[in-house]
């Protein structure tokens, strides 16, 4: 009885009310803190874009896009850099996409549970955590000096292709896994072989996820600088690679594969490491274009993901 009275008194007491108020206040403060930190992170993103735009937007012009690099900052341009980025991305995609999708299909649809499969899986998870510059060292020792591919477009494309391969595999596996098993069983019931099931049912249904993963992986490769520096990218290339076509049979030429290369981030790095302020302006302008490239790829990936999600209802 006395205890009960005590509790009743305590509940009415201002001491308890004060404690509750304090806890609620702390809770609100904590929520505010979370919001504040999030605001800071977003602010940094805006500051970064804003600073880049303020420094470089004035330098963007047709001349900037169509000029070779130069000793004179006002005449320099990014022609070789953006053409190089396009060509290297093409090779990267050609390396990583077929290999990555193939590996993912094998692991999800074919592989039996065995220690070998386990080794491959652990290996892919670990590869995704290897610093990118280490891929560059591997490419330098293996592709440039052992296989004698030289410091060329081909080496650059293969290097970045190997770098994003784990990302492509992981994304594709996730997409394939989201296709319900019922779809496969239905195909088998109609007498389809394994490959027919994969080709005609599993792959089309997971295309949205696969495409999203590919684009995100390529957007990572677009901005990748460090492994290409170790491989031996040049930052001053005043000529274009050989054209991929020729007048005589067989009309396509692969000579460009072995030309020295540069890409956008390398060009930007070169300009940013120079002491003269005029070159920093060029770096900012190149950075704006580079940023636009990778943000555009991310935007496309988000749109594709949303569209495919809407279209498929299991």
């Amino acid at each position: 009885m006395r205890l009960k009275n005590g509790i009743a008194k305590y509940i009415k007491s201002t001491a308890l009310q004060r404690r509750i108020m304090r806890r609620k206040g702390l809770d609100r403060f904590f929520a505010f803190e979370g919001l504040f930190v999030m605001g800071v992170a977003l602010l940094v993103l805006f500051a970064l874009v804003g600073q880049l735009a303020a420094d470089g937007a004035g330098r963007l012009s047709w001349q900037f896009l169509t000029s070779f690099p130069s000793r004179f900052p006002a005449q320099a341009g990014i022609l070789t850099a953006w053409i190089g980025t396009l060509l290297v991305m093409l090779l990267t995609a050609l390396t990583a996409i077929p290999l990555g999708i193939g590996a993912a299909i094998y692991l999800e649809e074919y592989a039996a549970k065995s220690w070998l499969t386990e080794v491959i899986e652990i290996n892919i998870a670990n590869l995704a955590g290897v610093p990118s510059i280490v891929y560059g060292l591997m490419a330098l020792g293996l592709l440039v000096y052992e296989l004698h591919l030289g410091q060329s477009f081909l080496t650059a494309g293969l290097t970045l292709g190997m770098l994003i391969l784990p990302m492509v595999i992981i994304a594709t596996r996730e997409a394939i896994r989201s296709v319900p098993p019922a779809v496969r069983e239905a195909a088998y019931a109609l007498g389809a072989t394994k490959w027919q099931t994969v080709r005609d049912h599993v792959l089309p249904y997971s295309m949205g996820g696969i495409l999203t993963g590919m684009i995100l992986a390529l957007s990572r490769a677009v901005g990748e600088t460090a492994p290409l520096i170790t491989v031996g990218a040049l930052s001053f290339i005043a000529f274009l690679p050989h054209p991929p076509w020729q007048g005589t049979f067989p009309f396509v030429s692969f000579e460009w594969l072995f030309d020295p290369f540069t890409v956008m981030p390398i060009q930007m790095f070169n300009w940013v490491s120079r002491p003269q302020e005029e070159f920093h302006v060029n770096a900012a302008a190149a950075g704006l274009i580079l940023l636009a490239m990778s943000l555009a790829m991310n935007a496309v990936a988000i749109v594709i993901r949303a569209r495919f999600r809407k279209r498929i209802h299991w």
Binding site: L48, Q51, I133, T225, P265
Partner: protein, 314 residues
């Protein structure tokens, strides 16, 4: 009934060729499986390539430089006449920039994750998450520009004698760069905590903050550890930001206000010059790369052990 069955035309196997008619499709299926398996094995080949190249070149390096000197010498001057090969000067740079980055990324990333998972409305979360992920889509060379030409000048307002190259601004920028990795993975982990745990806490009168910090966060610790390990790996392997903003001079110091080269920055510096293939100078970057890979691996193994320890099963 029986007559009915007899009416169904049964294709007679008139000519029995020596090969089964299903042989060709079966071979095709087998060939496809083999190709896919081959694709899956490229990832293992890449790992073997990385380990092989680093081990091979480092082996040659350690034939000329003793391992003890490598690990204990306090100077790193492989390109000078008086050559010293003390990797500690580079490791210290990496550790300082990584520590600064984590001091930014872990509190910020965790707070953002808690806010998004426990406080934010669905619509806010759907908006903020992709925008935050754009932070990780920005090319690292752009972050380098930002660190050198925006953050360092801003910090100079506080410490007027801050050198133009310093580890503090590089570390801060890397920190912001890895916030989305930490926040996104931690948030997924916290959202995977079952609702009834939260309901139990609320029923006992806990505020949302108490629930988040004392129930949800500890329950999700396994996944959150994975997020931190991912952040650490990124910070250790980050190259362009430190190569641009932290300076290229190997210095054995733990003071973030000083300029110092990291392991990655050193590799970039050597790659930009042209050292002859096969020289000791050339082999130093592989030994440095091996060290980098080992340190990353060490953190990953430690993280994996922690992750296992904190694993909760519901």
């Amino acid at each position: 009934m029986e007559a009915h069955i007899a009416e169904i035309p049964v294709e007679k196997q008139a000519i029995r060729t020596s090969l089964s008619p299903r042989l060709v499709p079966r071979l095709k299926e087998k060939a496809i499986e083999l190709l896919l398996q081959l694709a899956a094995f490229t990832s293992v080949a890449i790992t073997l390539g990385i380990v092989g190249v680093l081990a091979y070149e480092s082996f040659h390096f350690f034939q000329q430089v003793s391992v003890v000197d490598f690990l204990t010498d306090r100077q790193w001057t492989p390109l000078f006449a008086d050559a010293h090969y003390g990797i500690l000067s580079l490791v210290s740079g990496t550790l300082v920039t990584t520590a600064v980055a984590l001091l930014v990324a872990i509190p910020m990333g965790s707070l953002i994750a808690i806010y998004l998972s426990e406080y934010a409305s669905r619509s806010l979360r759907e908006f903020v998450k992709p925008v935050l992920e754009l932070l990780s889509a920005v090319p690292t060379v752009v972050y380098g520009y930002f660190a050198l030409l925006f953050v360092t000048p801003a910090l100079k307002q506080i410490w007027s004698d801050l050198p133009g190259f310093n580890m503090l601004s590089a570390g801060l920028v890397i920190g912001f760069m890895i916030v989305p990795y930490v926040s996104s993975v931690s948030e997924d982990a916290m959202r995977a905590v079952p609702v009834y745990l939260r309901e139990g806490a609320f029923a006992l009168g806990a505020t949302r903050m108490q629930t988040a910090l004392r129930v949800v966060f500890p329950s999700a610790l396994s996944g959150i550890t994975a997020a931190y390990v991912l952040g650490v790996s990124r910070a250790i392997g980050e190259t362009m930001v430190v190569a641009i903003a932290a300076g290229m001079q190997p210095t054995l110091t733990l003071n973030p206000l000083e300029p110092a080269a990291t392991m990655t920055a050193y590799i970039v510096q050597v790659s930009l010059g042209d050292l002859p293939h096969g020289s000791v100078g050339y082999q130093t970057i592989f030994a440095t790369g091996l060290m980098l890979l080992l340190i990353t691996l060490l953190f990953n193994i430690a993280g994996h052990a922690l992750k296992k320890r904190y694993r909760q099963v519901y």
